[in-house]
């Protein structure tokens, strides 16, 4: 398969996922468009070396996350403020206490949570939200499935806590 046709196949299958992935790394719409273009450009370039040692999906997500992570690392001031899932988990409830009544608000809060995370944790939460299982996330990130399972468990706890706080506020 040629480089162009591999790229077209990947863009067709994962175009929407890549758009959502770019949103996880960049809130500003203009900068996000640039990042998305950069991801597609690197993806097209990378297919010159695609040798099917991993699945197309794993390849696409690795390249996309690597480009997006590079984008975060270059912003040093932003990078220094990022925290891990473990840090977010220990934050007091009042930090997220407001009710997210609509889908849009919930998405906004979810995006805010993702934007605060360090790149590796961000990759895990995005993969979890894309409904990947622990072994798929492990193949992309290189972390052990047990480690992924633990992180996903923490993510679920945080989101559950937010949801309960939302319910509590509504009563």
């Amino acid at each position: 398969m040629s480089q162009d046709s591999l790229y077209e196949q990947a863009a067709e299958a994962y175009g929407s996922s890549l758009d959502r992935l770019a949103r996880a790394y960049e809130l500003d719409p203009e900068a996000r468009r640039d990042l998305l273009q950069d991801i597609h450009l690197n993806l097209w370039r990378s297919f010159a070396y695609f040798d099917q040692r991993c699945s197309l999906r794993t390849w696409v997500y690795r390249v996309a996350h690597n480009v997006a992570t590079g984008h975060v690392i270059r912003q040093r001031r932003l990078r220094n403020r990022l925290v891990s899932i473990e840090n977010i988990e220990t934050l007091p409830g009042s930090e997220h206490g407001e009710l997210a009544a609509s889908q849009t608000e919930a998405l906004e809060r979810l995006s805010m949570l993702i934007q605060r995370l360090k790149p590796l944790d961000r990759q895990i939460i995005v993969s979890y939200l894309e409904e990947m299982d622990a072994s798929s996330i492990s193949e992309i990130t290189g972390l052990s499935p047990a480690n992924i399972a633990m992180k996903v468990h923490r993510i679920k706890n945080i989101l559950k806590r937010w949801s309960e706080e939302g319910g509590h506020h509504a009563q």
């Binding site: 690392i73 997210a100 990130t141 509504a170």
Partner: protein, 195 residues
């Protein structure tokens, strides 16, 4: 009040968010990649030419007859010019990504990006050839400063500049050390996570 809160199903919220289709074709991406390569080559060429011009200028100053020490300083500066051009060629000239680089997991890639950041700071001095530059400038300036001891007023006028320079250098080195420490700590945490 809604009985079901949207955050109960974050995967559904995430996957159902509106997305925009990416409209560039493979051909357009190919053209864009070529444009990027041309731009990167132009920037590298610009740095190489700047280095060579500095080399020619200082070499021309070097052959002018004047005192030995400043002349040696100017000679060093001309060497720095050619070293700068070489480094620009070596580090900036764009290369194609290696197949292994694209096969890396995101964890390996993230760690190697952080290592590059750490090493960039660590080798900045060597890469920029600052030894040649600082030594050359010192050999030009110090004799002039020694001469100016005869006229203390000139020395007093330049004192604030040197004091500010020393403060800036102390702050810069401290911040760089702190930043490098943070990077090293994160790299070690990532190494511990690697299978």
């Amino acid at each position: 009040m809604p009985s079901e809160f949207p955050m109960n199903d974050p995967q559904n919220i995430w996957k159902n968010q509106p997305t925009e289709p990416f409209t560039m074709s493979a051909n357009e991406l190919c053209r864009k990649a070529q444009q990027h390569e041309r731009k990167a080559r132009f920037e590298a060429l610009y740095s190489i030419i700047a280095g060579l011009m500095l080399f020619v200028f200082f070499a021309w100053r070097f052959v002018q007859p004047y005192e030995v020490v400043p002349r040696m300083g100017v000679g060093l500066l001309s060497l720095w010019g050619i070293y700068y051009a070489y480094q620009a060629y070596k580090w900036i000239w764009p290369g194609r990504p290696t197949p292994d680089a694209t096969l890396n997991t995101t964890l390996q890639s993230y760690r190697s990006e952080l290592e590059k950041r750490r090493d960039h700071g660590r080798h900045l001095w060597r890469r920029a050839g600052l030894t040649f530059l600082v030594l050359g400038v010192a050999m030009v300036i110090v004799p002039a400063l020694i001469k100016s001891l005869d006229t203390p007023r000139l020395l007093l006028n330049t004192l604030p500049f040197f004091v500010l320079l020393a403060i800036w250098l102390a702050v810069f080195l401290r911040l760089r050390k702190r930043n490098r420490g943070k990077l090293q700590q994160e790299i070690e945490e990532l190494r511990a996570l690697e299978m």
